[in-house]
């Protein structure tokens, strides 16, 4: 018994069930073929000299002779019987107890393929994994590899040009909530992030208060705002918001609190949206990719993303279209 069948559903009976039916069928076919595949058959000739039919009549007048089967057909059938026997010896076709001479398994085949891929591609990835991210980002081929990993894993949320959309950060704008060092990128991809802005509506006050704070926030980035409301809002901001976003509103990478002095808005930059954020809070989840991507792959995709915001450092002036096979 194998461990997978510990549930009690599994019993050795089923192995025998499969094995017996299969073997009986193959042997039965062979025997049947031997008797029915004779190249010379007996037939009766009636009084008038006509060869008699088998006696069955269908549809009123359809009858058949008992003629020998074509020799080529019989030989091909024998070949299939032989093939079955050889196949069942080599492969595990008779239940789980017989593993077959070749000991083939699905997982074994998968592992062999992974090993082959690893042998083929591993050295390429390993070479880049040794280099610091900035150096990897300067390599055009590494950027293309990173871009392909990005398109397969990240583009669903961040867009195929990495510029995000409502609720999904723009990765090409040089604005980082958790720090701009390459290691922060690697951590984000590997561990994921959970950016929580708690609902602050109660702490801030009523509708008017919230609008004031929203206008003050807009003023921090030099966006259009109502100056009167902004001045009022500053007091509430210093009391409630500065704890996470900083007194100057420049954000806190340790917490992932955004920089409010730039014009980068994850949900939109209107008074209504900012008010909504203050009242309801936000809960953003970046999933962890450590189960999906290997470390070298994360290294490459992080380098690619880093290169989008550091184009000159990465040694290119714009994002070129990438050739795809």
């Amino acid at each position: 018994m194998n461990e997978a069948g510990a549930s009690g559903f599994y019993s050795a009976f089923w192995d025998w069930y499969i094995a017996v039916i299969t073997i009986v069928s193959v042997v039965g076919c062979a025997v049947f073929l031997w008797y029915q595949g004779r190249q010379t058959v007996k037939a009766r000739v009636d009084a008038k000299g006509n060869i008699e039919t088998t006696g069955h009549v269908w549809d009123g007048d359809l009858a058949e002779y008992h003629n020998p089967m074509p020799r080529w057909w019989v030989w091909l059938f024998y070949l299939t019987v032989l093939f079955s026997i050889v196949y069942l010896i080599l492969y595990p076709g008779l239940g789980t107890q017989w593993q077959g001479v070749l000991k083939w398994t699905q997982t074994g085949q998968y592992r062999a393929e992974v090993k082959a891929a690893e042998a083929r591609f591993g050295p390429i990835f390993a070479a880049y994994a040794q280099q610091p991210i900035e150096q990897v980002a300067a390599d055009a081929r590494a950027r293309q590899m990173g871009e392909r990993i990005f398109l397969n894993n990240c583009a669903q949320c961040h867009g195929s040009d990495a510029r995000g959309s409502r609720g999904f950060p723009n990765l090409a704008d040089g604005d980082w909530m958790y720090g701009s060092e390459p290691q922060a990128l690697v951590t984000t991809v590997t561990e994921g992030r959970n950016g929580v802005m708690p609902p602050m509506g109660a702490a801030v006050g009523g509708r008017a208060d919230i609008e004031d704070v929203a206008n003050y926030v807009l003023s921090l980035s030099g966006s259009a705002h109502d100056s009167v409301k902004a001045i009022r809002g500053k007091f509430k901001f210093d009391a409630v918001c500065a704890a996470c976003h900083g007194a100057d509103g420049k954000g806190n990478p340790a917490l992932g609190a955004p920089n409010l002095t730039d014009k980068v808005w994850l949900y939109g930059g209107s008074v209504a949206t900012i008010s909504d954020t203050i009242v309801s809070g936000r809960n953003n989840v970046m999933p962890s990719f450590k189960q999906i991507l290997t470390e070298p792959e994360i290294h490459l995709v992080a380098a690619y993303i880093w290169s989008l915001s550091n184009a000159s450092a990465a040694g290119k002036t714009s994002t070129p279209p990438s050739p795809a096979k």
Partner: protein, 492 residues
């Protein structure tokens, strides 16, 4: 001639009743055996000193088809093989044309034309494809020519086969099979040379460094050629070929078939030269049996059209030759239609009946489809574009409150030279491209191109809006493709 069914009686079966007794006899058991071993057919290849007319035609067909088959892979075009079906890279090169998997519709057109052509010439002239141009017949003829060179014509071959084994016989047989195998291997190599460059392949074979699938297919097709043309011969036509089975369904009473003019030939007999055959009460057939000797499928055409007949007209040549010798007009065996023989049409009048509505309709359909296929190929634009819009990130707001959508274009330059292309997009007022609009694609390859489109929110109705994205070559604006896509606005 062989019968399909042989009744072999048991030794213990009662003897047949003496003549004169009633036909009734006691029921008995018999053994039935349907397998009939192939009787070797020794077609006679030489009648007279030179090639006969239809024989010349058949050899012309052999030369024509084989010069094409063996010669085409050696042609070059722009430094590469002119005709190359590169399965691995999924590109078919036919002279200047580079066909991609997306172009398989042209193959459909070609297959339709082939099918219609098959119907046309079968309706007109029966199994002439079999007798004159089928690869099975062509290779069998080549192999039989080799056999005749080495072993001699019909009588010599029959004698050789009956001889006991000797050094001379073994030598002759070895020589014949070696020649056959050499031709078969070269045929296999040529066939594989359509799929991988033949010049490199020949070098590989010569240096014994060919391996893998190339080696397998050369041996496979070589073995198939050797087996089919050397050993199987007419058995392919009689037992294996599907066309042989259904070709007769396309015949009617106005189809040209190889026919023995019974009314003229019968009663047959050698007769004497002293008086005319008419006075002896004999028809034109002198019963020389030459028509049976030359037949590659081993039938007697005087019994009428049979399933095995491949319409090669060897019997026509043989009979004409004999008729000339005995001073009678040619054509005792000739291409004629069933109706022509029954109603005794004059020689020229037969064509009016062969060219009947059915044939003309097939011809018209072939013309239409051929013109369609040719036009499609001539007007083909060497550019293909697929637009894949982002599905995850549907729309985003950018600076100045504009709405932006992202697209990835798969641009396929199906021509062989690199080209530069430019993008355009329309369908919404003020729709603008916010990414690099010009890009290059190397020859015969695919490139993924990023496209960002922006519009003002007030210009974008809510939901999905149809737009058109166009790609055009910078140097040749006629090379242009338009693809439809969709632009999404943000929720209000």
């Amino acid at each position: 001639m062989h019968d399909a069914v042989e009744l072999k009686r048991e030794a213990s079966a009662p003897a047949s009743p003496p003549p004169g007794t009633p036909a009734e006899a006691a029921p008995r058991e018999v053994q039935i055996q349907l397998y009939a071993k192939r009787e070797e057919i020794y077609p006679r290849q030489r009648i007279g000193d030179s090639l006969a007319p239809f024989q010349k035609l058949r050899w012309a067909a052999v030369w024509a088809t084989q010069i094409v088959f063996y010669g085409l892979p050696w042609l070059l075009w722009n430094g590469r093989q002119a005709l190359l079906f590169d399965l691995g890279a999924r590109k078919f090169y036919i002279f200047g044309l580079v066909l991609w998997p997306q172009d398989i519709i042209y193959l459909t057109g070609l297959l339709i034309i082939s099918a219609l052509a098959l119907f046309l010439f079968t309706a007109m002239a029966g199994r002439v494809w079999c007798g004159f141009s089928c690869p099975q017949t062509v290779y069998t003829e080549i192999f039989m020519w080799i056999e005749r060179l080495i072993e001699g014509d019909r009588a010599k071959r029959m004698r050789l086969d009956k001889e006991p084994r000797s050094a001379r016989k073994t030598l002759l047989k070895a020589a014949k099979h070696s020649a056959w195998i050499a031709v078969a291997l070269w045929t296999g190599l040529t066939f594989v040379g359509y799929f991988t460059p033949i010049r490199a392949l020949v070098v590989d074979v010569a240096t014994l460094s060919v391996g893998g699938w190339a080696l397998f297919w050369i041996l496979f097709y070589g073995f198939a050629t050797y087996g089919n043309a050397g050993w199987m011969r007419e058995q392919v036509c009689t037992y294996m070929c599907p066309y042989a089975r259904f070709q007769s369904a396309m015949f009617d009473a106005d189809t040209l078939i190889v026919s023995y003019d019974t009314s003229r030939g019968e009663p047959r007999g050698a007769g004497s030269k002293k008086t005319t055959r008419a006075e002896q009460g004999l028809g034109d057939c002198v019963d020389c049996k030459l028509c049976v000797q030359v037949c590659p499928t081993g039938i007697d055409i005087r019994d009428g059209l049979q399933y095995e007949c491949i319409s090669c007209a060897a019997c026509v040549d043989a009979c004409d030759h004999v008729m000339v010798k005995v001073g009678r007009p040619k054509g005792l065996i000739r291409y004629a239609t069933e109706r022509a023989l029954k109603e005794h049409y004059a020689a020229g009048g037969i064509w009016g009946h062969v060219l009947r509505p059915r044939v003309l309709i097939y011809g018209a359909l072939i013309a239409v489809v051929t013109i369609g296929l040719a036009s499609a190929l001539l007007l083909r634009v060497p550019l293909k574009v697929d637009v894949i819009r982002d599905r995850g990130a549907l729309a985003r707001e950018v600076d100045d409150g504009l709405v932006e959508n992202t697209f990835r274009l798969q641009v396929m330059n199906t021509g062989e030279q690199p080209r530069t292309y430019t993008l355009r997009a329309e369908g919404l007022p003020g729709l603008a491209i916010a990414s690099e609009p010009t890009f290059s694609v190397p020859g015969a390859s695919t490139q993924t191109v990023l496209l960002r489109l922006r519009a003002r929110p007030e210009d974008v109705p809510p939901g999905s809006n149809r737009i058109v994205i166009g790609v055009a070559a910078v140097d040749q604006p006629s090379i242009a493709v338009e693809e439809k896509s969709v632009f999404l606005g943000l929720k209000r």
